[in-house]
C-alpha cells in the first residue's frame, strides 16, 4: 500500500464531523463583521441611526410607558430611588428577555446600560454583549463558578444577579433594572394596530416563519416578534446586528405609540395595559411618582442619546468569548460612576 494512501486512511480514521456548536464560530465571525461595519470610515450616519434608535428604546421604557400609566393625580413620591430623585442622574439597566414557551429558562438576549445625566441630555446607552466574560458573578447559585459569560447571570440568578455582576464590573450603581419580555411585544404591537418598518431588502426566513417584501410595511404582532427574533436570515446570526435591529424596532414602536396617543386614545390605553404587563421594573415602579420622572424628560429628544457597544475583544482564554478592553472600558464606564 502506498504510504500516502496509508496516511489518507489514518486521516479518515481521525476525522470528525462538525457539531452544531460550530455555528458559534459563525456568530463570532458575524459579530466581527458587524463591528467592522460600525468602525469603517464614513459609517457615522449608521452610528447616528443607532443612537436615535437607542433613544427610542430608552424613551419607550423610561418615558412612554410610565408617563402614560400615570394618569390621575400625582401623589408624593414612593420609596423607589427614581421617584425620590426625579431630577437626579440615573443609571438604568435594560434587559430584553426571551422566555420561549418550550424552554423554561429565561435568557437575556439584550443587555443595555443607560446613563441618564441630571440635565437629561447626553444620555448614554451602552450595549453589553451576552458573551462578555466577567469575573466570579457575585450572587447565589452562580458564585464560585469562576469567569463566566454575563448572560449566565440572568439565566441562573435573574435580573438582580445581572445587575450585581454589572455593578461589580463597572464599579457603578444601577438605580433601576427593567426587564422587557419580548413575548409581550406581540401584544403591544397588536394593541397599536401594527408597527411600520422599512426594509432595505426582502426577508425570507422559513425557520422564523417570516417572509417580508422590501420597502415600507406594517407588521402585526406575530410578524414583529419573528422579525426581532430572527437571527439567521437577517445579519447572519450576529448578536450585535440583532440588537441593533431590536432597537430599531423599538424606535418604530415608540413612534407608532406617540401617533396613537394623539389619534386613538382608546387604542393607546390598550397598548399601555399590555406594555405594563411585559415590562418588569426593579425596584417596582411607583407609577404615580414616575410621572414626575417622566416630566423631567420633556425636553429630551432622540438626538440626546448616544449609543455604543461596550469595547470588547476576543477573550485570551477562549476566543469564543469576549473580554473587556480595559482602557477603553474605563472611559465608557466613567459617566456611570457618579
Amino acid at each position: 500500500m502506498d504510504d500516502l494512501e496509508l496516511i489518507r486512511d489514518l486521516g479518515r480514521e481521525l476525522e470528525h464531523e462538525p457539531a452544531p456548536s460550530l455555528l458559534r464560530q459563525r456568530e463570532r465571525l458575524m459579530d466581527a463583521a458587524a463591528a467592522g461595519w460600525r468602525r469603517g470610515p464614513g459609517r457615522w450616519t449608521l452610528f447616528g441611526a443607532v443612537a436615535a434608535v437607542a433613544a427610542a428604546a430608552v424613551t419607550a421604557v423610561a418615558i412612554v410607558v410610565p408617563a402614560a400609566l400615570t394618569g390621575g393625580d400625582a401623589r408624593p413620591a414612593g420609596m423607589d430611588i427614581t421617584a425620590r430623585n426625579p431630577g437626579n442622574a440615573l443609571n438604568l439597566l435594560v434587559i430584553g428577555s426571551d422566555t420561549r414557551p418550550r424552554v423554561n429558562e429565561a435568557r437575556s438576549d439584550t443587555i443595555v446600560m443607560v446613563h441618564v445625566p441630571a440635565d437629561r441630555k447626553n444620555i448614554r446607552a451602552v450595549s453589553v454583549p451576552r458573551d462578555l466574560l466577567v469575573d466570579d458573578i457575585p450572587c447565589r447559585g452562580v458564585r464560585g463558578k469562576g469567569r463566566a459569560p454575563i448572560n449566565t447571570s440572568f439565566s441562573l440568578g435573574g435580573a438582580a444577579c445581572t445587575r450585581m455582576a454589572l455593578e461589580s464590573l463597572t464599579k457603578a450603581r444601577f438605580d433601576q433594572t427593567v426587564v422587557v419580555d419580548f413575548n409581550g411585544f406581540k401584544g403591544m404591537v397588536d394593541a397599536l394596530g401594527g408597527v411600520d418598518i422599512t426594509l432595505p431588502q426582502a426577508v425570507s426566513d422559513p425557520a422564523a416563519k417570516l417572509k417580508l417584501p422590501r420597502g415600507k410595511q406594517r407588521l402585526d404582532g406575530t410578524q414583529a416578534l419573528a422579525y426581532v427574533r430572527a437571527r439567521r436570515s437577517l445579519g447572519g446570526g450576529s448578536d450585535i446586528v440583532r440588537v441593533r435591529r431590536q432597537l430599531q424596532f423599538m424606535e418604530a414602536l415608540t413612534q407608532r405609540a406617540r401617533e396613537q396617543q394623539r389619534r386613538n386614545p382608546v387604542r393607546f390605553g390598550r397598548f399601555l395595559t399590555v406594555a405594563a404587563g411585559s415590562v418588569e421594573a426593579t425596584p417596582r415602579w411607583d407609577l404615580r411618582s414616575l410621572r414626575a420622572l417622566a416630566g423631567t424628560f420633556r425636553d429630551t429628544g432622540a438626538e440626546d442619546v448616544e449609543f455604543a457597544m461596550l469595547p470588547v475583544r476576543a477573550a485570551p482564554e477562549d476566543s469564543n468569548r469576549l473580554a473587556l478592553d480595559p482602557a477603553a472600558a474605563e472611559r465608557t464606564f466613567a459617566p456611570f460612576r457618579r
Binding site: M1, D2, D3, L4, E5, L6, I7, R8, D9, L10, G11, E13, L14, E15, H16, E17, P18, A19, S21, L22, R24, Q25, R26, R28, L29, M30, A32, A33, A34, G36, W37, G40, R232, G235, G236, G237, S238, V241, A314, S319, N320
Partner: protein, 192 residues
Amino acid sequence: MTTPTTAQQCDADLIESSLADPEAFAALFDRYAAMLFRYVSRRLGPEAAEDVVGETFLAAFSGRRRYDLAQRDARPWLFGIATKQVARHHRAEAARYRALRRTPVDGPVEGPADRVAAGVTASASRPVLAEALAGLPRRDLDVLLLVAWGDLAYEEVARALDIPVGTVRSRLNRARRKVRAALGDTDPTEEA
C-alpha cells in the same frame, strides 16, 4: 444557509463584495467551515478544531483586503490561514499522534518491517504512522497533510503556505521518505 444570489458567486467575488458589505463574508464560512473543520479535526481533534476554524475565519475576515482577487478559489488561502492557526497547537498535535502510537489496534505490535512484510492494513500501521507524523518537522508535516488530508494540489499548497512549488515538492518528498522509512521502506511505489 448560502443565499441563492451568493451561491452563484465564486469565492473571489464573495470576498470582494465583503469589502463593502462585511456580512457577505458569512457565505464563505457556510461554504468552507465544515471542510476546514474536518481537516483540522484530523490534526487536533474536534474540540480544538472548532476554535481553530473560528480563529481562521476571523483572521481571514480581517485580512480579506489583502486577498488576491485573481484567485477565484479561496480554499488554499483558508487552508494556509488554518495551517498557521494549527501551528499554535503544534505540541498538542504531536501529543495526539503519540497517543495513537500507544493504542494498538489489532494484536501485538511487532517490528515495522515484519508488519509491512505481513501486508499492513491502515489500522495496523497506525502506531508507526502516527509516530512518524509526530516526529516530522512542522514545515514538512504541513505540506504532507495539506496534500494527503486537505486534498490540495501542489500549486494550491504553494499558495497556501506562500512558498514556491519546488519547495512543496522537496518538503513532500522529504516527509514521505521519513514515513516510508518508519514503515520499513518496503513500499515499491515511488512518486516523483
